[in-house]
Amino acid sequence: MRRFFSLGLLCLLLLSVTVTAQAQTSATVEADDAAALELLNALDVRSYSAKGEAINAILQSDDERARDWLQSLLDGRLQRTDDGRFVVVLDNQGRDWPVADALTNEPLGEMSRRDLDRIGINNNLRNQLRSAIAVVDLYSPNVERRRISASRLLGEVDEELAEPLSQLIAEEEDAEVARRLTQALAIYQVESGELEGVETLRGSLHPRVRVALSRAANSDDSIIADAANEALSSIEQNLKINRGLETLYFGLSLGSVLVLAAIGLAITFGVMGVINMAHGELIMLGAYTTWMMQQLLPGQPGLALILSIPAGFMVAALVGIAIERGVIQFLKGRPLETLLATFGISLILQQLVRTVISPLNRTVITPEWMSGSLVINDALSLTLNRMFVLGFALVVFAALMLIMRRTRLGLEVRAVTQNRAMARSMGIRATRVDIMTFALGSGVAGLAGVALSQLTNVGPNLGQNYIIDSFMVVVFGGVGNLWGTLVAGLSLGIINQVLEPWAGAVLAKIIVLVFIILFIQKRPRGLFPQKGRAAEG
C-alpha cells in the first residue's frame, strides 16, 4: 500500500516536472501533454483488460498522436523509462537503443534496454489495436494506409460504422479502397438481411465474404438464401480453380528444391558415376556459408545472400576437390567402397560442424524482399521466398546446360564419360577433367545450400534430409541426363503435393517411393535413358 502511494507521489511529481519544463510553451500544449501522459500512464498496468480500456480511451481522446502511439504499442516499441517517461524505440538491435519521446517526438539519443520497460500486449489486444488503427486510418491521406484499413474492415463493420462508410465510399478516389469498402459495407448489409449486399459480393473470393454468404444461405428469408446460395456456388467454382493453381505452384516449388538438391548429384553421380554420399553435406556447407556471410555483413542480409552465391559455390567446390583428391580417386571403379568412404566423410563433416560451430541450428535471416507473398487475388497468393528459389533453380539448370553443351569443359566431360581411354588418347587430361567435374557438381550442391538456407533449418542435419531425395530424383530421371533430373524433380514435386491433401504427408511420401520402385522395375534406366554404347556398360 505504501509502495503504491509513493509510486503515485512519484507520478504526481514527474507530472509537475513535465508541466513546469514546458511552462514557456503555450498553455494548451501543456494541458494536452498532461492529458496525454495520463492516457499513456493508463497503459502501464498489469491486467490486459485494463490495457484494453486504456486503448479505447486513447482512441476516443482525439489526440493527433493517438495513431502513432497505438501503432508503436502494436509493434512493441512503446516503452516506459525508469523515470516514468514514455518513449518510442526507433531500433531495437543490440543493447542500446535509439529512442524518441512519445509525447514530443524529439529524439532522446540512445538508452540501455535495461532502463526500458516494454508495455506488453497479448493477441486480443493486438486484434483490438489493429481494428482501432483501421478505423483511424480510414480518414488517412495516405492511400496505402487506407487500403490496409479497408481490407481490415471486411466483416468488422457494425451499425455505427455503416453510416459514415457509405459517405466515405462516395468520396473515395482510389478504386481499390472504394471496392474494399463497398464489400465491407455489403457484408454488413448481408448480415442485416438486405438482398442488395448479396449482389455486390457476387464473385468475391475473400474468406469473410464466404462466411457471410454461407450464413445468409441458411437464413429464413428464402429470397436472400437462394441468392446467397447461387453466389456461393459460383465462388466455390472459382475457388476450386485457384486451389488447383495453388497446388501446382506448391508442386513446382517443392520440385525446384528437389532439382536444386539433385542437380549437383546428377553431375557427380550421373555423369561421373561416383556415388557421393557426402553430397548432402556439401549442400549443408553452402547453407553455412550463407550464415557466415550474414555474420560478416551484419545488417545487410540481402547483400550477404547475393554474395553467398559465389562464396557457397567456391566453398563447396573446394571441399569437393579435397574429397575427390583425398579419397575418391583411389577408389575408382569400386562403387561399394566409394559409397562407404563417402558416407564416412558425410558423418565426419556433420560432426565437424557440430563441434566447431554448434550442434544448434543457426539463424539465417530472410531479406525483406524475399519475405511475404505476392497476392494474386483473395484466394491465391504465392510465397516470395519459394518463387525466388524456383527461379534460382531454373537459372542454375540453364547455366549448367550451357556449360555442358557449349564449353570446352563440357565437351571434355562428355568425352571422358563416354569413353575414357579414347578421350585420353585424343589428348584430354582425364584426371584434370575428373577434378573439374567433381568440383562443378559439388559447387552446384553449395548453391543448393544457399537457396535452402532460405527455406529450412541451417543445422548439421540439413544435408541428411536431402540425400535420399536427391538420389531418388537422379535415378528416376535417368542417370547421366540433366533434362531427366529437371523433369523428374518437378514431376515428383507436383505428384507429392497433389497427393498430400488427401493422403497426408507421411503416406504421400510412401506412395511416391512405391511409385518410383515400380517405375524402376519397368524402366530401369529412368525417364530419359542415356543412349549410345557407353551407357550399356
Partner: protein, 450 residues
C-alpha cells in the same frame, strides 16, 4: 519359568545389541573408507551426435554444471560427484546399450538422460533389470510409471490440457487443428486432446483437424494452406502443435510467409522453447504461444541466478535456458536431497526417500515428488516476442501434480501409480483393485492403438 525368562531376556538383548553395534560400527567404517575413496558417479545419457544432439547437448552441459556446483558446495555426503558421460548418438537401440554400460560397468548411482519417448522406452527394461535410477527431463505423453524412472518433465495434464483450457476459456477458440510429428508423443497427446475436446467441451468432429508429418518435414506449403482454409470458416481457430525439433523452423517460416498472423490463428506449441527459437527470426512470429512449466523470462531471483550461472558456465552471452534444463535442475536437486535424507546413494533407499521430497523450482515455487514418480509443476503460457523470448500471459494459480495415467482415455482412466509401500505398483487398477501388471498396460496400449 517366567522369572528365568525375564532374567535371561535382557541379557540376550544386551548381547545382541552389542554385537549389532559392533557390526554397525565396522560396517560404517568400511563404508566410510569406501566413500572417501570413491566419488559418487552420475551417469549422463544424452545424445551428443546425430539428430537429437541439437536438443540434448545442452542438457548434458546442464547436468555437468549442476555437478560442478554441487562439488563446489562440498559434494554430497562428504563425497565428490563425478560425471560419466556417454553418447548414444540419437540411436534408440544404442541408448539401451549405453544405459547397460553405465549401470553394469561404470556402476553409476544415478542416470540423467533421454529426450525422445522412444529412447526412454528402449532404456526402460535395462534400468528396471539392473535396478538403476533414471531422471527423465522432457515433457512426454504419460501412460507410464516405472519403479526406476522419475519423470521431471510434464505429463499431458501439466501442459496440453491446461493449454487447451486457456485457449477455450481465455481466447475463445472454437476450432482446433492438431498438427504433429508422426511418432508416439504427438499421437498419444492428440488422442488425449481429441477425447478431452469432444467429451469435456463438446467440440464437434468437423471442428477438429488432425495432421501428422514425418520427422524433419520441411515442405509445409500444403499443410499451412490447409490450416489457413480451416481457419477461414468464421470460427476462431487455433493450431495445437506437437511438431518436434527441426521441422518447426520451416513450419513457422511458411506460416509467416503465407501471412498467417498470431492474432488470426494462434499456434500453441508444446515442443518449441527458447532453444528452438534461436534458429528462427521471431519477428513475424510475435504472439504465437507455447505452453511450458518454465520460461527463461520467469521473473524470480532463483531464475536469474540460474541464467547467470549458465552464461558463466557456457561462456556464451547469448546462451538461453529452457524447460527441460529446469527439469534437470529440479531432478538433480531432488536426487541430492533424497541422498542426503537416506544417508546413502543406495538405489532402493533413495527411491523410498525421494517420494515427498520438495525442492524449489525456478519459477518461485516448490516441486514435490509424488508417489507416482511425477512431480508438481506450475503451467505457464507464453507469447513469442521479437527477441526470441516468451512473455508469460497466463499461469495456473497453483502447481499441478503430474498424472501418469490420463483421465480422458478409456483403459487408462482407471489406473493409478503409487510406489509407496504397501502398494508399490505402477498401474494399479482401482476398479478391480489389483495391480494390473502387464495386462492393464497392454489394454491401455491397445486402446491407444485403436
Amino acid at each position: 519359568m517366567t522369572t528365568l525368562q525375564r532374567k535371561t531376556h535382557p541379557r540376550t538383548v544386551g548381547r545382541f545389541a552389542t554385537a549389532l553395534m559392533a557390526a554397525a560400527v565396522m560396517g560404517a567404517s568400511t563404508q566410510a573408507i569406501a566413500q572417501d575413496d570413491d566419488p559418487i558417479k552420475v551417469g549422463i545419457l544424452h545424445s551428443l551426435s546425430g539428430t537429437m544432439a541439437i536438443s540434448e547437448t545442452v542438457l548434458k552441459d546442464t547436468v555437468e554444471m549442476l555437478i560442478e556446483q554441487q562439488n563446489d558446495a562440498g559434494g554430497l555426503l562428504g563425497r565428490q560427484l563425478e560425471a560419466v558421460v556417454v553418447d548414444p548418438a540419437s540411436n534408440w537401440p544404442l541408448f539401451a546399450e549405453r544405459a547397460r554400460e553405465l549401470l553394469a560397468q561404470e556402476e553409476v548411482d544415478v542416470i540423467f538422460g533421454n529426450w525422445t519417448s522412444v529412447s526412454r522406452k528402449a532404456v526402460l527394461p535395462v534400468v528396471e533389470e539392473l535396478n538403476g535410477l533414471l531422471f527423465y527431463p522432457v515433457q512426454y505423453e504419460g501412460e507410464e510409471s516405472s519403479e526406476n524412472v522419475f519423470y521431471t518433465g510434464a505429463a499431458p495434464n501439466q501442459q496440453a490440457i491446461p493449454a487447451v483450457e486457456y485457449l477455450i476459456n481465455e481466447v475463445g477458440i472454437e476450432r482446433f487443428a492438431l498438427v504433429g510429428t508422426d511418432y508416439v508423443y504427438p499421437r498419444t497427446t492428440n488422442r488425449i486432446l481429441e477425447a478431452f475436446l469432444k467429451d469435456e467441451h463438446g467440440i464437434a468432429d468437423e471442428d477438429i483437424m488432425i495432421n501428422y508429418t514425418p520427422f524433419g518435414h520441411s515442405d509445409w506449403q500444403n499443410i499451412v494452406s490447409e490450416i489457413r482454409r480451416f481457419g477461414e470458416e468464421g470460427k476462431p481457430t487455433a493450431v495445437i502443435s506437437t511438431i518436434n525439433g527441426d521441422a518447426n523452423v520451416p513450419f513457422y517460416t511458411e506460416l509467416s510467409n503465407q501471412g498467417i498472423d498470431a492474432a488470426d490463428i494462434p499456434v500453441i506449441a508444446f515442443s518449441v522453447g527458447e532453444q528452438e527459437l534461436t534458429g528462427i527470426d521471431t519477428g513475424p512470429l510475435v504472439g504465437h504461444l507455447a505452453a511450458w512449466n518454465y520460461f527463461m523470462s520467469v521473473d524470480t531471483d532463483d531464475n536469474y541466478d540460474f541464467i547467470d550461472a549458465w552464461i558463466d558456465y557456457t561462456g556464451d552471452e547469448e546462451a538461453v535456458t529452457n524447460d527441460p534444463m529446469e527439469a534437470h535442475y529440479i531432478g538433480f536437486n531432488m536426487w541430492a536431497e533424497a541422498v542426503r535424507k537416506a544417508g546413502t546413494t543406495d538405489v532402493d533407499a533413495v527411491k523410498d526417500a525421494i517420494i515427498g521430497v520438495a525442492v524449489p523450482n525456478l519459477s518461485g515455487g516448490y516441486a514435490a515428488m509424488m508417489p507416482n514418480h511425477h512431480i508438481t509443476k506450475p503451467v505457464l503460457i507464453g507469447e513469442v516476442q521479437d527477441n526470441g523470448q516468451f512473455d508469460i500471459v497466463w499461469q495456473t494459480p497453483s502447481t499441478v501434480a503430474g498424472d501418469a495415467w490420463s483421465d480422458y482415455l478409456p483403459g487408462s482412466r482407471d489406473l493409478i501409480a503409487d510406489w509407496r509401500k504397501p502398494m508399490e505398483c505402477g498401474n494399479f487398477n482401482v476398479v478391480n483393485g489389483s495391480c494390473g501388471g502387464s495386462t492393464a498396460a497392454e489394454e491401455a496400449e491397445a486402446a491407444l492403438a485403436e
